[in-house]
Symmetry: C2
Subunit: 398 residues, 2 copies
């Protein structure tokens, strides 16, 4: 039997997947599982997008150009203009989800053995994309006590080696919901220029920002045109994760061209998803206002509820729809499994993601969980009640 | 400015893309370009697939499972059963086009520096996928004089080194349209077993086979359960290249699991494309009969026409919708550009793919072109007339 590759064996498993059988068993036992573990919002896709798909007049579902439909890229350029960023359609490459934008950037920028610095906790799949490209992830730890602010720039600078090729940030952040301040972005900017690095920024949660100031795109930072690679996606913005449409945006023409070569090899991003994505650009502002108001309500219910539980630390996330909370427990892996397999409050239990999977530093985050507030406010309140009751009786309470 | 990666710089350009500006210029000059260069058929997508998309009742375009919708994988297992292959739904992983099936297999099976043997000419993007994974492509040349039959097995065996990890075949073949005989498949089978290799088979043209015997899937070869990885796609079968839905099929459970890790990192294949793909499984047999009859007519018109031109060699393809022809010219790169920029027959010209891009051996195929017979029979006849007239006056005629 031929061998599986080293990276094929070492690719990380999803931090949630090992819990899935316990959720299935809980449901089989008649319990209701409140799913706080996933990034699939329950929000409806804008009707303009759904209608565009339903009214599709094509009789052949053809390839699109490898960099996406020109009309869609033009629409995206207008969209970026509306959020204060000037890019031309030919600086945009439409990808198969934000995931593929990351894959292309990793392939086009890194040699095997190169290093990328990522503030942790971070979106777990960054590890997989790095592993695919043979790239080493160097974490710099942000702390729950600081509300997951960017670690001091000196701490990041200390991680730079001669193999460091890029810094990767997620803003607003998954899993923390943290939104970087202008000062933090400027600090990153200086570091990137000083060491001639790429700056990768995953900004897929841009529309989910609950303060008065909208999140600032890295594309608005001065002097970084050759350095910045933006990863974007329609998945969260329009609640259409299954469209598999994202974008890689860069003003670095040589890098755009290199990414285009990888894009040509896989032929085209999805045509049907792009039809939905292009139509979604016409989503009325009222849709986002309503979605945002709903998330603010859910977030506040979650954070207030969690903070009322003795021993729980839960900073208020400024964006996205996730929160990381520190619980008075031995191990979030054990707790998240136990609550599914051994606990319910009048028949209700919850599924959460253990936060250890979002850290690259061994042993970090083992008493933290990621909670996605993607359910109705009443369900969020109920979930908090379940967690509170569970913590009272959990045998591994610390 | 940070450096582009070595592979980012070296990724091959499309063999057709450098011709695109000449096609644009020809059109701008008022000439009609007959496109024989692309693999996007003009055939309509089956109406069952289009209707499924138009009647979609979902209000949230959600992620599918990372290995695809279970109902779709069950339907696919039935489909394989109908072509004489027994696989279970959990031996199928739904991918984003056949391209992603290849990418996953390359990532999961190869270490950087490993080698894959591929009979050439081959689908040009195999080179790109190999380069992405740091894998060396070792070509074994099939000859137009032999109708592109598999080279003698001894010639293939001589290419095996201690870094050889797989043999990759495409059956029916792009760009040659060659369909492997049972004897050839058995020869490959022996070689694979003898050297404990993977056997990757791209069978996306399975339904386009014009002899009496249907093409035999590698999954029907005895004793290769741990070795065979099938790459499949809905793109050509149902003329829906833009759906971006394919499949990786293997009975090797460990390999399926490794591929699943890469699949989880990119979250999910396209939901809308899968809706179309699942519905397309109900495409009536009459659709394929009609499509096949139409391709046979096109193929015969093309091959008869080409053979009537002095100095042209054109073996009859048994499948797919491509043919490779040898022309009496100095260079197909030069000829394909010249015919677009300097020639027309009463206003008509043609775009073809120079075949050199389908060979890994330097200098091979430089007097061959790939012609995709994806146009109506009358347009095919016209294109042949244009080629015949062009060859009479082409300055680089040999």
């Amino acid at each position: 039997m031929p061998r599986i590759s080293t990276k094929g064996q070492a690719m990380p498993d999803s931090p949630i997947r090992k819990l899935a059988p316990y959720a299935v068993a809980a449901k089989a036992a008649g319990r209701k599982v409140l799913h706080l573990n996933i990034g699939q919002p329950d929000i409806e896709t804008p009707s303009v997008a759904l209608e565009a798909v339903r009214n599709m007049e094509r009789t052949v579902i053809e390839y699109s150009p490898s960099d996406g439909f020109a009309s869609y890229r033009e629409g995206l350029a207008d969209y970026y203009d509306s959020v204060g960023v000037k890019v031309s359609p030919d600086q945009i490459l439409v990808t198969t989800g934000g995931s593929e934008a990351l894959i292309f950037a990793f392939q086009a920028c890194f040699e095997p053995g190169d290093e990328v610095i990522i503030p942790e906790p971070f979106y777990a799949n960054y590890l997989g994309f790095a592993m695919s490209a043979g790239v080493k992830v160097v974490p710099v730890t942000s702390r729950i006590e600081d509300g997951f602010a960017l670690p001091p720039v000196a701490e990041i600078a200390a991680k730079v080696t001669d193999r460091t090729k890029a810094i990767l940030i997620c803003n607003p952040g998954n899993p923390t919901g943290y939104v970087y301040t202008d000062a933090e972005l400027e600090a990153i900017r200086s570091l990137v220029l000083e060491h001639d690095l790429y700056l990768f920024a995953d900004e897929v949660y841009r529309e989910f920002c609950y303060g008065d100031i909208p999140p600032r795109s890295v594309l608005s930072l001065d002097g970084l045109d050759d350095h910045v690679v933006l990863m974007d996606s329609v998945s969260k913005r329009y609640s259409m994760c299954g469209a598999r449409v994202g974008a890689l945006v860069t003003r670095n023409a040589a890098l755009r061209q290199a990414c285009m070569r990888f894009a040509m090899a896989r032929l085209s991003p999805p045509t049907l998803g792009q039809i939905a994505g292009e139509a979604a650009l016409k989503t009325p502002r009222s849709y986002f206002d309503k979605v945002k108001a709903s998330y603010v309500g859910r977030r506040d219910a979650l954070i207030e509820g969690l903070r009322a539980i003795p021993g729980v630390t839960a900073p208020t996330p400024g964006g996205a729809f996730y929160a990381v909370a520190k619980l008075p427990i031995d191990s979030s892996d054990a707790f998240c499994q136990w609550i599914l397999s051994d606990f319910d409050l009048d028949g209700d239990t919850v599924m959460m993601a253990p936060a250890s999977g979002f850290y690259a530093t061994p042993g970090a985050g083992t008493d933290e969980v990621r909670i996605a507030y993607v359910l109705e406010e009443s369900a969020i309140r109920r979930a908090v009640a379940v967690i509170a009751a569970a913590l009272k009786v959990y045998p591994g309470r610390s």
